[in-house]
């Protein structure tokens, strides 16, 4: 019985974490799906958000910390986009360069310390105590934030600007032929994407009461895994469904990892498992095709059985 209780608490914690990571996954969705650019800046901008948020929380400004984290993420994304559009460096490489640069920048933001503990500092979750000290207060609060982010993103992607942004990932040539600079669209898209990623990092830092300079490592892989898992399991039919699918994908990913850890998987294997999950998810289409062609071939050879040489 106490074992089950502990599992329930663990699962709730993992659910809460999953919701925060969902915001990061939505950011990755913008770059990877909407713009069709696998953006590796994410590893750096996630930590950047955490660092900014931790520094501001330690001077008692937790909410300002979130806002500034979002903005700093936008700036990081803008730089990556500039490398790609203005200097014509391949998107993948631009992301790697920014990720590298951000490692040093993040350390600077954190005052050259590898981590900032936030114990006994005012955090965004503190005000909840005044309203409702129940077990689920944090969870509800996080769900509300995620819902707001989802709604804002959905309405943004349904505006005139959002339309062009989505078309840019689909068909850059068409967007230019319709009189819009794709460079500007890529800048806007990567800015928003990394803004969301940084916001997620900022919330994680406050949730777990510390920021660490290496907490972003592998984040882009987790983001991609969430996007793909979400789409495969929950569908892509409409835009709204797709956004929700991505968020659910992030939550599901976190739950699966938590259960695996709970069942005794060593935490050091985490990154290996993440890589395997993403590999499987990315190869899904290829595998599906193989299976389909195999089935067809079987059916065919069945039909001609009598005449085979």
């Amino acid at each position: 019985m106490p074992l089950l209780m502990s599992l329930a608490t663990t699962l709730q914690g993992s659910l809460e974490l999953g919701i925060i990571y969902a915001i990061m996954a939505l950011g990755v969705f913008i770059s990877y799906r909407t713009l069709n650019i696998p953006d590796l800046t994410v590893d750096g901008s996630f930590t950047l958000g955490a660092a900014v948020s931790a520094v501001l929380a330690s001077i008692s400004q937790p909410f300002t910390g979130l806002a500034l984290a979002f903005i700093s993420g936008c700036i990081a994304g803008t730089f990556t986009a500039m490398l790609t559009t203005k200097l014509k460096i391949q998107p993948l490489l631009s992301g790697i360069l920014m990720m590298l640069a951000l490692y040093s920048i993040n350390l600077k933001v954190m005052g050259n310390k590898p981590n900032i503990p936030l114990l006994n500092k005012p955090l965004i979750f503190d005000f909840l105590q005044g309203i409702n000290s129940g077990k689920y207060a944090k969870l509800v609060f996080l769900v509300v934030i995620l819902a707001i982010v989802l709604a804002l993103l959905f309405f943004f992607l349904k505006t005139k600007l959002g339309f062009v942004l989505r078309a840019t990932g689909d068909n850059e040539k068409m967007v230019r032929a319709l009189g819009v600079s794709t460079d500007v669209m890529i800048i806007i898209g990567l800015a928003i994407s990394n803004g969301l990623v940084a916001l997620s990092g900022a919330m994680i830092a406050q949730y777990q009461s510390f920021a660490d300079v290496s907490m972003g490592i592998g984040m882009v892989v987790i983001g991609l895994a969430s996007v793909i898992i979400g789409e495969v399991i929950f569908g892509v039919k409409t835009l709204m469904r797709r956004l929700i699918a991505v968020a659910l994908g992030a939550i599901l990913y976190r739950l699966v990892i938590t259960i695996a850890l709970w069942l005794g998987m060593p935490p050091t294997d985490l990154k290996l498992v993440s890589a395997v999950i993403v590999t499987v998810a990315l190869s899904m289409t290829a595998i599906k095709e193989k299976v389909l062609s195999f089935k067809l071939r079987c059916a065919n050879s069945g039909r001609y059985k009598g005449e085979r040489m």
């Binding site: 339309f163 078309a167 230019r176």
Partner: protein
């Protein structure tokens, strides 16, 4: 309307692969003129359109649109006035977005892209009305993703997108070449209809000699980056495909070679 003055374009200049695609070419189009362009493989037809639309920067010469010098303005800025339909039906639309969303992007051409809703009720009514003119039943499928349309349907949609805001110049690069003959004919008819009704200044490249003669008000023939024949108005009447080929062979000193050229 459009004035192209002595433009030249050489690819891989100075290397052994040097290729002169446009050689001191000039062309002037009047208001509402509809020019069809023919010529062999590598004659420079596509390059001409790409230089006019700003995909390639010209090496020499000037391009004026409506009196404005656009020789060096970037592609997306020229696109506010110049619409294009490419040969590849995949090139003109965003496949993962719906028909109405695609049209909305085209309809917002040249206007600021703010945070207003992408499509209004009035827009949808207009889109349905315009789609109905295509007579392909697309007006009942506005919420469907473009990726699910056939090549011909997409190309018709692209044509509508290119003209829903009247452009100063419409450039068509073999926009029916990838379609099967029946659909190709239909899209050509639509092109005629839209261009004539809206009186749009148009340049249409085609590999179909007969189509070149049957459509438009003027036909030009290109060879090695130059215009070697220009048939306008009356000159064009009564011209046969055979006569055209004979003229080509005489003027260019070679046999007309275009592996996709259709005579009938």
């Amino acid at each position: 309307m459009l004035k192209v003055e002595n433009i030249s374009k050489t690819f891989y200049k100075g290397s052994i692969n040097e290729k002169i695609a446009l050689n001191n070419l000039s062309l002037t189009l009047g208001e509402g003129e509809f020019v069809t362009v023919i010529g062999g493989n590598g004659a420079g037809k596509s390059t001409l359109l790409n230089c006019i639309s700003g995909v390639y920067e010209i090496d020499a010469g000037r391009i004026f649109l409506d009196g404005t010098d656009i020789s060096y303005s970037p592609e997306h800025k020229r696109s506010k006035y110049i619409s294009r339909v490419f040969q590849d039906p995949l090139m003109g639309t965003a496949f993962d977005m719906t028909i109405e969303e695609n049209l909305a992007i085209a309809y917002a051409k040249g206007k600021p892209k703010g945070l207003r809703p992408g499509i209004s009720k009035a827009d949808i009514a207009l889109f349905r009305e315009k789609l109905a003119l295509l007579e392909l039943g697309l007006e009942d499928r506005v919420k469907e993703k473009v990726g699910r349309l056939s090549g011909g349907e997409r190309q018709a949609l692209t044509l509508l997108m290119a003209t829903i805001v009247k452009p100063k110049l419409l450039l068509l690069d073999e926009h029916t070449a990838a379609l099967d003959p029946v659909i190709a004919k239909r899209v050509l008819q639509l092109t005629d209809k839209i261009v004539e009704e809206e009186k749009i200044c148009t340049i249409m490249i085609t590999h179909n000699m007969k189509a070149a003669l049957d459509h438009g008000t003027r036909t030009i023939m290109m060879h090695e980056g130059k215009i070697i024949m220009d048939l306008d108005g009356k000159d064009k009447e009564g011209v046969t495909v055979e006569w055209l080929i004979e003229q080509f062979n005489r003027k260019s000193g070679t046999e007309l070679d275009n592996d996709r050229m259709l005579l009938g």
